[in-house]
């Protein structure tokens, strides 16, 4: 059984075909980097896996079953947060409010809830964030907290939507290493979207490039080359490797990050 299987999946939003006849499979425990320019459909793909966005064609299977909202086997870190976190809520309190937060009733945390949260915080090395106010945390600390939140309750699949945004290179690397460790220790499959493949090199098992409604998946060597990316984006793409970095360049503009309105759109 695959962690995720797409079989001829098409997703249309408004009049835009975000995915068109995409087929792919991701094995349990696999750490997959999801790349593609703004609007390529990274978030949409995750929302479809979560059962939030319906497919217009084809079939998705998540851990052997059709997607359904509220699947407890999936841990999720969304890309955007519309509402700022209020002052005076601690990290632990935030995670407790989310743990089984979908149930009706009064939010009284049980001893087992507290254990589950403390365990997740310890696992990502965020035990010291438990008592601090979330509003005061730095971007990197906050991201670590959100990843802890995603692993509460031992999910089998993690969907992390751009967890590297607005982090410095050292912090980016730390988050990638953290997720790689989680993926190994817990045997959890991970979809990790990013704008740049470099921070992920050496850590991910596979890379999934999205563009023009199409997808290309494979190891970094299999996918990040002139031939595959040129075919995917239908425009001449050059991949240059130097010093263990890759630079993806196209006439039509950079495909990996460096998008001028990138910064604006993801500023917190």
């Amino acid at each position: 059984m695959s962690a995720i299987a797409f079989d001829g999946v098409s997703i249309t939003l408004g009049d835009r075909a975000v995915l068109a006849d995409v087929s792919l499979a991701i094995a349990p425990g696999e750490f997959v980097g999801v790349l593609g320019p703004n609007g390529a459909g990274k978030t949409t793909m995750m929302r479809a896996i979560l059962g939030l966005t319906p497919v217009s064609g084809g079939r998705i299977e998540v851990l052997g079953a059709p997607p359904r909202r509220g699947n407890p086997a999936i841990g999720y870190v969304p890309q955007f947060r519309r509402t700022p976190l209020p002052p005076g809520i601690t990290g632990e309190e935030l995670l407790l409010s989310a743990h089984r937060g979908e149930r009706w009733g009064f939010p009284l945390a049980s001893a087992s809830d507290r254990t589950a949260v403390a365990e997740a915080l310890a696992r990502v090395g965020a035990a010291d964030l438990a008592r601090r106010s979330v509003a005061q945390l730095s971007g990197g600390e906050r991201q670590r907290l959100f990843i802890a939140q995603a692993v509460v309750g031992r999910p089998q699949l993690l969907l992390l939507d751009e967890p590297l945004i607005s982090l410095d290179p050292a912090r980016q690397r730390a988050i990638v290493e953290l997720v790689r460790g989680l993926s190994r220790e817990l045997g959890v499959a991970v979809l990790f979207s990013a704008h740049e493949v470099n921070p992920l090199l050496g850590a991910i098992d596979k890379v999934l490039y999205l563009g023009g409604g199409r997808a290309a998946i494979g190891t970094v060597d299999q996918v990040v080359n002139d031939k595959v990316l040129t075919a995917l984006y239908r425009t001449p793409v050059r991949v240059i490797r130097a010093d263990g970095h890759v630079f993806v360049h196209s006439e039509a503009g950079a495909l990996d990050g460096h998008d001028p309105h990138d910064h604006h759109e993801h500023a917190h």
């Binding site: 929302r47 979560l50 939030l52 909202r69 509220g70 999936i74 999720y76 969304p78 955007f80 947060r81 519309r82 509402t83 976190l85 209020p86 002052p87 005076g88 809520i89 601690t90 309190e93 935030l94 407790l96 409010s97 989310a98 089984r100 937060g101 979908e102 149930r103 009706w104 009733g105 009064f106 939010p107 009284l108 106010s133 509003a135 005061q136 939140q149």
Partner: protein, 261 residues
């Protein structure tokens, strides 16, 4: 003290305790969700409802409750927050205007306007106390039922949605509960000053605590404390109770800023 020798004082204390518990509890979530303006507006709609009901020969309390409930539904239907504030503001002023028109047609009740607008806690009868108790029970039971997903959805809506929390339905349910709470609070502090009892204690409590439960309980405690102290001060000074509630509410909020977050 012989303050409890008078029946109207006993009723006033009972009614304001009931209403303060409700206002503190609901207010906590209202502040957490950034929906205080909606709460403010709901009470103004109550004004039109109450005056309209009197014009039709009905009890103002019935009209007030019916109108706030309707407006609560209306506000939750108007989805997006950006346009929402404008829509809410327009409904708010329209309601006050309508209330004024109804009063114009029914001049006999000149005193009613003041007590509707600013509250008249010392005029509350035994029957109203029982009515408030019943409504409070319903309101708090409703809140207890939805408060877990409500807390989750207020803090992290995107994640709550993914976990299967029905955001829109939840928000509509909460608005109905706010409407019920508002109808009760109007009895004590009047249409214009509901904010003081519902928002000020909760906002102070949120600044002073770091956990849900302690913040929630402190909001209730502060609201009740403010209500009691205000009645006491009103008794001693003979100034209006509602004035003291607004003053102490503002003071509590100001003092909460002394604590660094």
């Amino acid at each position: 003290m012989d303050i409890f020798a008078y029946e109207f004082m006993r009723n006033a204390f009972a009614a304001s305790t009931i209403v303060a518990v409700v206002a503190g509890a609901i207010g906590y979530f209202l502040v957490l969700r950034g929906e205080t303006f909606a709460g403010h507006a709901l009470s103004h709609v109550g004004f039109a409802g109450a005056t309209g009901a009197v014009l039709l020969g009905l009890s103002p309390f019935v009209g007030l409750t019916a109108f706030t409930l309707l407006a609560g539904l209306g506000i939750s239907v108007v989805g997006q927050r950006a346009n929402r504030d404008v829509a809410i503001g327009i409904v708010l002023t329209l309601s006050l205007g309508l209330g004024l028109l109804f009063l114009h047609f029914y001049t006999a009740y000149a005193g009613m306007a003041t007590s509707l607008l600013f509250g008249n806690v010392l005029g509350i009868g035994q029957q109203t106390v029982w009515l408030l108790l019943g409504m409070a029970a319903v309101t708090l039971a409703g809140l207890a039922l939805i408060s877990r997903p409500l807390l989750f959805a207020s803090l992290q809506p995107e994640l709550a949605e993914a976990r299967g929390v029905p955001l829109r339905r939840l928000s509509a349910l909460f608005m109905l509960i706010v409407a019920l709470a508002t109808a009760q609070a109007i009895q004590i502090v009047g249409v214009l000053l509901v904010f003081a009892l519902m928002v000020a204690p909760a906002a102070a409590a949120l600044r002073l605590t770091r956990r849900f439960l302690s913040g929630f309980l402190l909001a209730i405690g502060l609201a009740v404390g403010i209500a009691w102290l205000s009645l006491l001060l009103a008794y001693v000074t003979d100034w209006p109770t509602s004035f003291w509630i607004t003053g102490l509410g503002g003071l509590a909020y100001a003092l909460s800023h002394l604590r660094r977050l």
